[in-house]
């Protein structure tokens, strides 16, 4: 059963194209993941929630029972978890037995706790529980695993399976790793268009293929990045930092090491302190005879370009 259809949807904001002719059909029980930048996902949710209309094309929804959960959605403070859930139970008018369902969301012993005392892991599951109360046909969730601990991810995945018994859940994230854990079909937004990511490649071979990944160590976790996710790399106080959707992740490698490793992935040393992903460059601006600046796509960041590197860059971009 077809739940929602995006037919040649184009969305432009302030003369900037966010989506260009995207088409997507979501059928019941499909586990789809959408890889989008923060701006794209924000506009996508606005289109879903009808806060804005497409510039062209149409969104045809075959169900009215759609729930959304954006990354920064909040929870009422100073009330108990049970009161919070009872409120949404009354709104949804589904008469769900909260006490009975709570253990499936690993919140069985948290019902009397105040919502402001919950951990990030528990809050994310509470959002999921709230969504489950309205028994929606279709759910869109943005980056649910981003801030979770390892244990939190495991519990969340189990809780998500409970929701998926009755609803079709679509996950939107800017991280491929997150989508791989939550979806079986992934579409990636490249140049404002949705392209299906081929996940079948690895299935044929008996041995996993080597995949080049860059890593960043943050607290107790290591985050892996595909080179094409990185906008640019900046050296700050001698530490190389990956810039991804305006967020910075430190790397243990030096700029010279990264330059060698990323040369074949379309990265260019535009300045002593910067390595830029050539795919992300949208404009080259010359403010004076010897001063050049690179403007990146979907980003407010500007990078300096050395005078000596100008010709080399022009050759690469031809």
């Amino acid at each position: 059963m077809n739940l929602i259809e995006f037919e040649n949807v184009t969305k432009q904001i302030k003369n900037q194209s966010i989506f260009n002719n995207i088409s997507l059909k979501i059928n019941s029980k499909e586990n789809i993941g959408l890889k989008m930048s923060h701006t794209e996902s924000s506009v996508f949710f606005d289109l879903l929630e009808q806060n804005t209309l497409p510039s062209a094309g149409s969104i045809i929804s075959h169900t009215q029972n759609i729930s959304t959960k954006r990354y920064n959605d909040g929870i009422y403070q100073k009330i108990t978890v049970k009161s919070y859930l009872q409120f949404f139970n009354r709104i949804a008018d589904q008469h769900v037995d909260i006490k009975k369902l709570a253990p499936q969301f690993f919140l069985g012993d948290n019902l009397t706790m105040k919502t402001n005392a919950l951990s990030t892991d528990q809050l994310e599951r509470l959002h999921l529980f709230r969504i489950a109360l309205s028994k929606p046909d279709l759910v869109f969730i943005e980056s649910p695993l981003r801030d979770l601990s390892n244990e939190g991810v495991k519990s969340y995945l189990k809780a998500l399976e409970v929701v998926r018994q009755k609803s079709t859940v679509i996950v939107i994230s800017s991280y491929m790793e997150e989508l791989l854990q939550l979806s079986s079909t992934i579409y990636q937004c490249i140049d404002h268009q949705l392209e299906k990511v081929d996940l079948e490649l690895d299935k044929d071979s008996s041995k996993p293929q080597n995949i080049f990944r860059l890593s960043s160590h943050l607290d107790d976790k290591t985050i892996f990045f595909s080179p094409n996710e990185i906008d640019f790399i900046e050296s700050i106080n001698g530490v190389s930092n990956f810039s991804i959707n305006s967020e910075y992740f430190p790397s243990s490698l030096t700029m010279d090491e990264l330059e060698k490793k990323l040369l074949h992935f379309g990265f260019f040393r535009c300045h002593r302190s910067y390595l830029v992903n050539l795919q992300r460059i949208s404009e080259l601006i010359s403010y004076s005879k010897n001063s050049y600046t690179l403007i990146l796509k979907n980003s407010k960041e500007t990078l300096p370009l050395s005078r000596a590197k100008l010709d080399e860059l022009k050759d690469l971009l031809q």
Partner: protein
Amino acid sequence: MNISMRKINAIFILRLQLILKNFSLLMAPLMAIGYVIAFKNFFPSNLPSLRALTLNMGIILNITMGGIMFGSYPIAEEKEHHTLRVLMTSSVNATEYFIGSLLPSLLILTLVSIILVPLSGTSWQQVSIINYLVITIICTIISILVGFTVGIFSHNQTSAGVLSLLPTVIFTFIPMFKGFNKTISTISDFLYSGVIAKFINQSLLKHRFTWNLFDVGLLIVWLIIFSIVLIYAYRYKHFD
């Protein structure tokens, strides 16, 4: 537009819980109670003019300042914590949200207005309870509507505080100080909160209050004006 009593009831219960746990929001009615108690103890004289002044200030503080705060702060807080979007995408419409949010505020502020009369040392024999309830309820609703409009234009609680300053000053202090200056008194007569001051003064000083067409019309006009302003503000801004 469909209005569901079930959803209004759910919002009413939630909002009541949240208001009762929000001490900074309760400051306005508590200030009004504290002010009336303090004034009565500092000036124990039984002069009707002093009692009228005490009751006037307490009620106006409660209704205008409290009403505007009770209307604006919760919306601004919901925007700040991104809970309003969750609610509005959970099949709740704006009318249900406004009615569900208005009722608990109205209940609390009306209860405080009732308590203020005996606290100020005024007997219910001197003040017609029916007239008192009609005037305070209508004025509280108008103040909450002003608060809702301020909340719509606020991004967070700080901006709600700043934006609500002007209407609070106009509707609270002009009727409070109407006795000090003739111009202020004339302006006060055209404000909805001025009707409260007029009602208290006439009830306590002249021992009778009679409705006249001007006061009835004034309350209706202010109610219509702020209802229209709220509708246009919502259509223009939604809950962005």
